[in-house]
């Protein structure tokens, strides 16, 4: 029997972990949106899905970028 001992330690500050998982959850929402569009259009429309994904990811990235910087400022001051 082969045993794999992977001693992986993933250390991330709690607020960064929260933002990372939140970003992931918003990507799941995008996936659900794409599934709904595909079912309503009765087929995968690459152009429409690309436009929606580009706009959604653009807004999401800008939003999370702002929040990351804001929380970094707040929690750096808090831990001093």
């Amino acid at each position: 029997m082969i045993e794999l001992n992977l001693d992986l330690k993933f250390k991330m500050k709690p607020w960064k972990k929260a933002l990372a998982f939140s970003f992931l959850f918003y990507l799941i929402i995008l996936f659900i949106l794409i599934v709904i569009i595909t079912f309503t259009k009765r087929g995968f429309s690459f152009k429409l899905v690309s436009i929606i994904s580009a706009v959604y990811l653009g807004i999401l990235t800008l939003g999370f970028r702002y929040m990351y910087r804001r929380f970094q400022e707040i929690f750096t001051v808090m831990n001093q």
Binding site: P14, A18, F25, F64, R70, I74, M78
Partner: protein, 274 residues
Amino acid sequence: MLNISKKTIILVMIPLPIIFMGYIFGLIGVLIGFAISIILSIWLIITNADRIILYIYRARKAMPAEQNELQEKIQVLSERMRVRIPSLYVTELALPGSFVIGKNMDNTMIIFPERLTGILKNEELDALLAHNIVQINNSIGKRTFAALIASILTMSASAIRWGAVFTGFGDYDEPAPKLFGLFVMGLVAPPAAAIMHSVTDKDIDVRAARLCGNQAAFILSIDQLEKNTVTAYPSLGFFCLVDPQKETFFEYLFNSHQSREIRVKNLIEGMKRA
């Protein structure tokens, strides 16, 4: 009777634009009416944010003979701070601490969870109320509105979790409802925390300790509340003396207070500077 009529008028006013505009202009009128209703609803929420918060946290006005000692302490501290005496509202909910809300500096309310009278001693209650009263300033209206939005967003996670319970996914503490709640919390926590952090005040500890005049009691009240803190209501942390206990790692985004050691160190340095 007057209150019921006021609520009825408000409930009738909101859909009226949709019906009226739709009747005159058809579908486009309905859409315009809908937009007007939304603007009206937002205006009503902004102007009644404090009332809505009282309703959310099931706070009722303290009777004149109820909580006499607390009312006297609030009066003394308000006179010292030279602000209008806030009304006292009590709640049976297990909130992490007491907090002050209001439309403006002349119209404020302190929401006080009844469990705190059994946890804190006299001087510690003074310190807690001083922490609330120093937050009465020009930005109280903004902070009340931010607290309302953050509360509504975070409560949606709890609502979804209960929805999962009632639709047969298991009990409240079982993995499936927890996962639903966690997912929604993951979506709402960053914007809610960002809104909350945009209105936090600075140096509250030093000002509160100066107001109550008892630094040691202030530190003891922090210790007692941290020992007896509750899980839930993460959006109230920035208003209260201590942050509530965290159930999920998303609630770390709502952390508004430094660790006890840093707080005590900053408090002592701040008092020396005074």
